[in-house]
Symmetry: C2
Subunit: 321 residues, 2 copies
């Protein structure tokens, strides 16, 4: 790993993170499906972070950040801006440590998400649904509280935490040829890169992205970060752009980035619910959709597939009219 | 167990069944949820037969019947009438042995169910949606094929097979105080009775039933079988009546039968999907609904909850408008 002036997490940071967060997270199960194997011609191993605490892998990084703080820092709490799983996860982790968690969320965020953050003990400050309002409100909250800012993915503590997921997967399944995970900001994929480059450098790493939010794909092909302003996709966890730390891992260690259409994502999501009987988010279906679309890439291989989360609105499933 | 002139399965039959079916079924996982424990005040252990082969516990009994046949008997195949999980399960088991499976299903059964039976290799003969037509058509198929009739629950081989589920649960969880399962025809509950009366006679056995199909509840209170003609409930696996073999187990070993309304069942189903991230049938939500309705019965206890199956129509979820 070349020195590029960023504070990047090391393998030791992953080991420290795993020990630190173990009391607060699940070692999630790995599921297999003969149906899915026959359909794809590959041996698929689904790492089920939809069963994780707070319903998503994000709790790994959030918990590592929260429990890594000194007592003095922790007393002021943590803060972030997110209307998704990172907000839930940071609130959960802060609640377990008994410290404040400040979350800036747009007024327009679903009430169910706000209720869930409050349920875990988080304090919400609302902003307008614009980047400028979010940044202004967050700056005010940050200034007023002195809370530690935990970015959803561009944070070495968060990346080290997410890396514990692929470490577990490698312990749970022998002889993997490849791992595939959805990519949005790149926190999970960076964690996979960090783990595999250290303990299994021959394992291929694929990232899966919606065609309609394919900024990581285009960045990967162009060789520099390309950020879109407001992509529209059913995979709502994958709209955010890469940042410098995740770009470092993606550009150095990812084998390829594959994309799928909205229809392919919804079909793969429904198929997984039907055949594997698990509730998961649209984002989690993007890897399977790309495997089905590119069978020649995966045929005959043992492939770990990261199911990233299960926080879905059951009243608004994408196949409902 | 008093001799009442029925051929009833013994504990030895359960042990034989378990060994016989092990190569063809999953040893399904047991899930726990801190949220559910806090909500109910009990320690709940969910035995997830929704992850079972063919999507339901019924494959245990069906596989035991199919693989217990002599080669001579097996050559003629098996037959049943069912439009639900037993049809799928028997087709799956017959397919694994490579023998014919004849299923009589009403013309009006969902195409998806018919396709699934055919997908497992079953042959469907359609009947009108009435008991008289079903019986006449089944008699003709039975006569013509000489296939062995495997009743969905009133069959000692089937009950012995279903009993392997609670045997696994007792191996997977220590110190259970009670087990609760949904009751329709009583195959699963009879299996629980058979297992627990032999290896853990102090463990309480509860059966959970929809208020709108409460024939087992009324039978239990009356002391004899009461059968309803055509109950209407969202829990479509639980509409069938007890028969003499399942009545024997229910009347002798069940601690109590509890009921829940349609609304309570749907709420419990949705809550389980939301918090535990598993896809399961409405029938499987009846136990949780009755636990939430009768907290004093379960508070402070370690309770095994059988999640019986996951074959649900994702286009017709009960909370959809």
């Amino acid at each position: 790993m070349k020195d590029i002036g960023l504070d990047l997490p090391s393998w030791d940071d992953v080991l420290t993170a795993h020990e630190r967060i173990a009391p607060y997270i699940h070692r999630t199960p790995v599921l297999t499906s003969r149906f899915m194997n026959e359909l794809t011609g590959a041996d698929l191993f689904f790492k089920c972070e939809n069963f994780q605490k707070a319903g998503a892998f994000k709790v790994r990084g959030a918990t590592n950040a929260v429990f890594g703080l000194s007592d003095e820092m922790a007393a002021k709490g943590v803060a972030t801006h997110s209307s998704g799983n990172h907000a839930l996860s940071l609130s959960y982790a802060a609640g377990r440590r008994g410290i404040p968690c400040h979350v800036v969320m747009p007024k327009t965020a679903p009430e169910a998400k706000k209720a869930a953050v409050r349920g875990y003990g988080g304090t919400i400050t609302e902003c307008e649904p614009s980047t400028s309002s979010r940044e202004a409100v967050f700056a005010e909250v940050h200034e007023r509280t002195g809370a530690d800012f935990v970015h959803p993915y561009n944070d070495p503590r968060v990346i080290a935490g997410q890396a514990t997921c692929s470490r577990e997967l490698m312990e749970q399944v022998e002889g993997l040829d490849a791992v595939i995970a959805p990519i949005g900001g790149g926190g999970m994929v960076s964690g996979c890169c960090l783990t595999l480059s250290n303990i299994a450098p021959n394992v291929e790493i694929y990232a899966a992205e919606p065609e309609q939010a394919d900024d990581a794909y285009r960045s990967f092909k162009a060789g520099h970060i390309i950020a879109d302003d407001a992509p529209v996709t059913i995979a709502d966890g994958l709209k955010v752009p890469l940042k410098e730390r995740t770009w470092h891992f993606v550009s150095n260690y990812v084998t390829d980035i594959l994309t799928a259409s909205e229809e392919e994502i919804v079909d793969a999501m429904k198929l997984t619910w039907q055949r594997m009987k698990i509730v998961m988010e649209p984002s989690c279906a993007v890897p399977l959709a790309t495997i089905l679309k590119n069978p020649e890439v995966f045929r005959g291989k043992r492939v770990g597939v990261i199911i990233t989360g299960g926080n879905v609105d059951l009243d608004k499933l994408p196949w409902m009219a």
